[in-house]
Symmetry: C2
Subunit: 264 residues, 2 copies
């Protein structure tokens, strides 16, 4: 069963290679896959056939939706809805059945605990729900997540400026060096002088969600075009022996503990 799914997944991802030599054959393959997906929807686990059908989206339009949605559902669900609301229109199922608003809890690094930035978590959910988990054969969902987290950590945020900003102030930009809410928001608050409940901090986070949505759609569009190439250089288990960011001193200023390592 798993093997069959893997084969289907590979068949579709090979589409781009086929276009040059036989566009008709490629179209037939897509129609067959589309039919399979549709008939499978009535069964258990039907939404676990990957990849989900995806149509290329406009990054700027997606970012504007994310910005507006932040003020309704906050960072994580805003990023998810910025992509899925459009795909509900363009594609329909399985996007219609996905309970996007349930992900409001991603706010504040998950109900205010300051863990992973909700925008990053939302991007990860989008990439992995569309492309599927690595155990289903395609690794691009996993790789895009990794790339997004590294890009976020290194970006001078917020990048995206909405057409109709809710706050007129020019916002300071900061680099988080981390995918975590607490670190990202904390560094921006320190640089800007704005407190957590200020309209400026809220608008900064809405613009971060929009910036993340913009870049996420760029990567998804590349993936759809068969042009996506992973760029991440994050390999903490190999380099440090533990799941982590790569800048240990950020939190371990007093000294980095040495984890037990496998014998080589």
């Amino acid at each position: 069963m798993k093997n069959d799914e893997n084969m289907e997944s590979k068949g579709v991802s090979r589409r781009q290679m086929m276009i040059g030599t036989g566009a008709l054959a490629a179209s037939v393959a897509m129609v067959q896959f589309g039919g399979l997906l549709k008939s499978a929807e009535a069964k258990d686990g039907s939404t676990e056939k990957w990849p989900w059908p995806y149509e290329k989206l406009d990054p700027a339009k997606t970012a504007e939706i994310a910005y507006e949605e932040w003020y309704r559902v906050f960072c994580g669900a805003a990023v998810i809805n910025s992509v899925f609301s459009q795909l509900r229109e363009k594609v329909g199922e399985p996007y219609k059945s996905f309970p996007t608003d349930a992900f409001v809890f991603l706010e504040g690094g998950m109900v205010g605990w300051g863990t992973v930035c909700g925008s990053n978590a939302g991007a990860a959910i989008v990439a992995n729900t569309i492309i599927g988990p690595r155990i289903a054969g395609g690794k691009e969902g996993h790789l895009i997540t990794d790339d997004m987290f590294q890009w976020y950590s290194e970006a001078s945020m917020p990048i995206f400026a909405p057409k109709k900003p809710k706050v007129a102030t020019t916002l300071v930009k900061t680099t988080s060096e981390s995918p975590l809410c607490h670190v990202s928001v904390g560094k921006w608050m320190k640089a800007s002088g704005y407190h957590i409940g200020s309209p400026e901090r809220k608008d900064r986070c809405a613009r971060v969600a929009a910036s993340v949505a913009y870049h996420l759609v760029e990567l998804l569009n590349d993936w759809k075009d068969g042009k996506y190439v992973a760029t991440g250089t994050h390999s903490p288990v190999k380099d440090f022996g533990i799941t982590a960011q790569m800048n240990c001193m950020e939190c371990h200023a007093g000294g980095v503990p040495t984890p037990p390592m496998a014998k080589k």
Copy 2:
């Protein structure tokens, strides 16, 4: 529209109060709600009617499923599947349409970045998908997430011992003092001496997922019985002016920065 949803949600959560005075009336209310949910499934956003129908589960059975699932889909998806696989059988939709395996990416604190422990993220997804987001009227999904994170941070883990452990070794227990993967796994590795790729570390994480699934179902069962009372004491924005854990010195050993605060 939102107001209508809120009213429906409140109607169901009031069910417990009604049981003492009129069990029949309560049953009628549930049947009506069930019918509403079913007919709504054909429409856009149909899975965004909350709460989703929930039937009480056996915590020990759920934990066993989570333990076994860890070896297939890892921590986050294991916790989600431990609950949703049972509700797919007992309830059907909307659980059948939820793409649980997409959440493999929660592994290693999201594709190995060591952010929030996938078991915690999985528990949050389950609680908020069933009960709904706070913007839909019910706050219990948000509160259960908060309670789970605090409980996880204070627990001596792993708690749950599976009937048929895949690793025979008695595993050291540690307290993470954090909901983060990196901190939780790192402290256990330091205390146990086992490296990240060891069978013992893997089994420890499988048992943590099982422990989380066990407690999550305890809280969901309480909620279903109208007995759930929030126990969390986590209030970082009020106390410290930023989204965070409450033990700042854990990472800020060199001194805790003072965030800009609102004027009082």
